[in-house]
Symmetry: C2
Subunit: 223 residues, 2 copies
Amino acid sequence: MSAERVDVEQKVLSANDQIASEVRGRLAGHGVFSVNILSSPGSGKTTLLERTVDLLKPSLRLAVVAGDVQTRNDAERLERHGIPVQAIETGGGCHLNARQVSESLESLDLGEMDLLFIENVGNLVCPSSFDLGESRKVVLLSVTEGEDKPLKYPAAFRRAGVLVVTKVDLVPHVEFSTQTAIENALSINPDLVVLSTSSYTGEGLDSWAEWLTGQVTECKQGS
Amino acid sequence: MSAERVDVEQKVLSANDQIASEVRGRLAGHGVFSVNILSSPGSGKTTLLERTVDLLKPSLRLAVVAGDVQTRNDAERLERHGIPVQAIETGGGCHLNARQVSESLESLDLGEMDLLFIENVGNLVCPSSFDLGESRKVVLLSVTEGEDKPLKYPAAFRRAGVLVVTKVDLVPHVEFSTQTAIENALSINPDLVVLSTSSYTGEGLDSWAEWLTGQVTECKQGS
């Protein structure tokens, strides 16, 4: 990689970090807890969010910023669950950046929000480098992707606070040891909170909802 | 995105295209047919290659260039099948570039090769922008990823010559219409050759091997 390119990339990251810091301040000022959800395409981000919204909507005020390279499909699926959703189409861009999130927040009422989900572009590499001002990064790994993904794509797992293993209902049909996958993830980041879930059977979703609710409560106490 | 960043990106792409063109010339000079394999992490690129190598090794001289963000896992799996393999660790890079492929070819004997597989980094966004000098791009989509991926990540499907649907043995266990996924892909690129496969049951692998063998024959006739 050329020195010129590295220099420009550092400038881009530094400018992003400054906007991310502003976003973090705005969210904290309103006591909003936020998660930036990272995973490969097709790991089940949107389906997990649909189930999570149904579980938490009676007790918390929710909103979603949903990023995609193309289409508003994910945003439209989530809107049907009756919460405010802002779609970001990156038009080829391989990750969300803090400016896009900051602009999306202009159309959301932070005073009427407890928990903000930011669904990143499906990509296990690039999104991990860009702080969006979130409280925590959450990385999803579906059981169909293989146990070695934390070792092969370590940055996302190193920077996340939580690993949500998804689609565990498919374990009987694939060659996948959940234990080995979790051990691999913990070897990259021993502080990861690990949850195993199936959006199809509902397994593990209560624990995930409890974790989120606990974080929201802590966030309100701190604000 | 800043004008400065766009300018640097265009320079990077242009420099890459020049090296890709040199790679294409070297491969053509030796009558080597090559495929650049793109997909999300965990779509089954390496497993498909393992099965393909076993099928084609008796009749064709094969080699692999295997890219990964981190680890040499995929290269080691493929080496066990008794063919020359060059590993590229990108160290955080989200795609292979033509220079990396060009350098890998220095360690491979093009005079003893009919078919070169280039296994790209698992990422459905960035690799599609970088020509590696390959004869054809092949995009994999596993049935666990959802039917909408061609619409959400169109560039990879637009630039590929072949779509290999993988893991079709899992169709009974997931909500996935192979027909809808293929229709979505063809709406992006009507010229796609489409193959449905399972590396687990072997379904469709003969058709894939036949397609590759046919391309190698055409390539030899043209060289």
